[in-house]
């Protein structure tokens, strides 16, 4: 029983971290219909910004989430405005190719700048843990990351629903033609959305750096799990990534209690297949987003 509770709690914490990584990916896909395959490279970009700040100034990686987010926001805004916007009206296949190429360029730049070495950002407390009855442990690093995932999601929901900018992003995502007629500058809104998504990826990267090792080669696995989380959670709902992350984290944690090795990944993708068959719009997604027409 203790083992089951431990696995569940650990899975929830891992899920929170997955959600934090995936929330930006889900936002861009939901609003712009762009599957950003360079998302994992943005996450790593944040991790390396936090690493540099730690090495240079001794900054804690959770504090570095803010500057990492700022750097990645600027990068994301510029990439969208001057690169992705060129093909944003093209079929999704073209944006897939573009972001795939972008991912390769960014991953190799990281390799050149930071070497392929495995890195991690020491904190002194991230591996310590809260001790519950039955010797169940809750590691502080992952706890902070999971709580931040919830906080970021709440902030995103507030931003989207309560601010003029957020509403214009949502409106553009729902019907670009109508939003333009209302005076929304779609090009700016798209760049802003991409920037916000990259900022959240950067913040997630800084948190990841505190709890695990990373190297440039991890970019693809971040993108892959973001994809699974986004599809599981569903598009068009800001809570989607959080639900998707938590469900995936717990299911994988339970799965790895029963199965061994790479079979655990099979559980994640089997879950995806089942969900797509039963509820194609995801846990919290809106079917509208799958069938919208863009003009």
């Amino acid at each position: 029983m203790t083992q089951f509770v431990q696995a569940t709690l650990y899975g929830l914490l891992q899920g929170g971290l997955l959600a934090l990584v995936a929330v930006g990916f889900s936002l861009v896909w939901g609003v712009m219909n762009v599957v950003n395959l360079a998302h994992g490279a943005f996450v790593l970009g944040g991790a390396y910004v936090a690493l540099e700040l730690h090495d240079a100034l001794g900054l804690d990686p959770f504090v570095s989430m803010v500057p990492a987010a700022a750097v990645l926001f600027a990068l994301g805004y510029l990439i969208q405005r001057y690169l992705v916007n060129l093909v944003v009206n093209a079929p999704i296949f073209i944006t897939l190719i573009l972001t795939f190429g972008l991912e390769m360029v960014l991953e190799n730049l990281l390799r050149v700048w930071f070497t392929p070495d495995y890195q991690s950002i020491p904190t002194g407390y991230a591996q310590d843990s809260l001790r519950l009855p039955g010797d169940i442990r809750i590691p502080y690093g992952k706890l902070i990351a999971a709580l931040l995932a919830v906080a970021v999601t709440v902030a995103l929901v507030y931003f989207m629903r309560r601010t003029r900018t957020g509403l214009s992003i949502l409106a553009t995502g729902m019907d670009r033609g109508a939003a333009r007629l209302m005076g929304v500058k779609a090009r700016h809104v798209y760049a802003l959305t991409f920037g916000i998504a990259a900022a959240m990826a950067g913040a997630a990267g800084a948190a990841e750096g505190a709890v695990r090792t990373f190297s440039p080669a991890d970019a693809r696995s971040f993108t892959l799990f973001s994809f699974v989380v986004a599809v599981l959670g569903g598009l068009g709902n800001m809570w989607g990534a959080l639900y998707g992350g938590l469900v995936l984290g717990v299911v994988m944690s339970w799965g790895s209690q029963l199965l061994s090795g790479t079979m655990v990944n099979a559980v994640a993708f089997a879950l995806l297949v089942v969900l797509l068959a039963v509820r194609p719009q995801g846990i919290a997604g809106k079917a509208f987003y799958a069938s919208r027409v863009e003009v």
Binding site: S120, Q127, R137, S215, S253, G261
Partner: protein, 412 residues
């Protein structure tokens, strides 16, 4: 006039294409006896992808060999003076690409191959080498299964996978006081790690240890929490990881998170001797045992590199004062074996070089290099290191140790 220009352009295009195609030629100039030539070795390496770090270490080892051999004026084979050249191609850490690249080397006339990084790419390359009648000196493919297929043209300078874990189990049996009674294994699920685990569990049972569990985790994962959760209630004296760097760091990190404290300590393959391990874990790395193909105290000398300590100095001089790790040394040793075999064969003919490799029996800075009938170097012992104050210290075998084992290595 226009037709003439078009015709001329078409002819020029055909000529350019013709000169670029069909270039199946030996890259080394024909070297007459008494003359000089260049021996070109081909290496498919993981310069990008999941094992880019280790591929880079392998390339460094090959480059040290090239520089040392050429700085000595090259070597003589059959009356011809050769300098060494190594061509590299990036296999992106994928075994099918590794096989394709070795095939391409054959098309270009490069018959002597230095191995890629890792057992998967090496296994794929070995099949192609055999088919093309090339010859490969393997520097980093340790899985015993590579050598169970009857290949006659691949030779590994490194100790086989089965010795990675068994050497640590033997060291625990010889040195640990109080002697641990129970072991739990966490193994990555790739071929190399599983073979190493099998060797380790067999040795553990032979030496009277009780093996409580063997848990498998995905290769390259940073989450081994499930395996640790399952092992926690068994309270093993030692947790043995048959892993690579990412999983190796995760075992120590997450064991701390989950409060899994073995009474004796941790022992892991591959990860501990790599500086990134101690750097990532900080003080938590101290006490972890690791197996190593080579240390700066390995016994043996050769005419190119001297002893192991000399090699470490040569490497440091070439790479800004950085000390070599075993992945560097094993790559240099593979290149050394190729050079010695060509010298002995007196020819660069692949069949003669193959026969010379099969008969090679020489000491070196890397330890003895001698191959059995399968092409494995079973005479070279593994070393066991322990991280002490952030540095890997050789502790076993005791005749080439520079420190003593600190045991138990964990404190509750």
């Amino acid at each position: 006039m226009r037709a003439q220009i078009l015709g001329g352009a078409a002819l020029a295009t055909v000529l350019v294409l013709a000169s670029g195609c069909g270039s199946k030629k030996a890259p080394e100039p024909a070297a007459a006896a008494g003359g000089s030539g260049v021996l070109t070795l081909g290496a498919s390496l993981s310069l990008t992808g999941t094992t880019a770090k280790e591929g880079g270490l392998t390339k460094e080892g090959y480059e040290v060999c090239k520089k040392v051999v050429n700085d000595k004026g090259g070597f003589t084979a059959g009356g011809t003076k050769y300098t060494l050249d190594i061509q590299y191609q990036d296999d992106t850490s994928k075994q099918d690409i590794s096989a394709q690249l070795v095939d391409q080397y054959n098309d270009k006339g490069v018959k002597l191959i230095l191995g890629p990084y890792g057992s998967g790419p090496t296994e794929a390359a070995a099949a192609v080498v055999e088919r093309n009648k090339q010859v490969m000196v393997d520097s980093a493919g340790a899985d015993d299964k590579i050598f169970a297929k009857g290949y006659q043209r691949s030779f590994a300078v490194l100790s086989p996978a089965t010795s990675y874990v068994s050497s640590m189990v033997q060291a625990l049996s010889d040195l640990a006081n109080p002697k641990p009674k129970t072991l739990a294994f966490i193994s990555a699920d790739d071929g190399f790690s599983k073979t190493a685990t099998q060797g380790g569990t067999d040795k553990a049972k032979e030496l009277g240890f009780q093996v409580l569990a063997t848990e498998y985790v995905p290769n390259g994962t940073t989450d081994v929490s499930a395996a640790l959760t399952k092992i926690k209630r068994l309270k093993p004296d030692v947790i043995v990881g048959s892993v690579h760097l990412a999983e190796g760091v995760a075992i120590v990190k997450q064991a701390k998170e989950l409060g899994v404290v073995p009474a004796g300590g941790f022992a892991e393959t591959v990860a501990p001797p790599i500086p990134d391990f101690a750097k990532s874990l900080g003080a938590a790395a101290d006490g972890v045992l690791g197996s190593s193909q080579w240390t700066a105290r390995t016994a043996g000398t050769d005419k190119y590199f001297g002893g192991a300590a000399d090699y470490a100095r040569t490497f440091a001089a070439q790479y800004g004062g950085r000390q070599p790790v075993y992945q560097n040394a094993q790559a240099t040793a593979a290149c050394l074996a190729a050079v010695l075999a060509v010298e002995k064969a007196g020819s660069t003919d692949p069949d003669k070089v193959r026969d010379a490799l099969a008969a090679l029996d020489t000491p070196s800075f890397f330890g003895p290099i001698r191959f059995n009938s399968k092409g494995m170097n079973v005479t070279k012992p593994m070393a066991v290191v322990q991280i002490q104050s952030g540095k890997p210290v050789p502790v076993w075998p005791t005749d080439s140790a520079s420190g003593s084992l600190k045991w138990p290595a964990t404190s509750a």
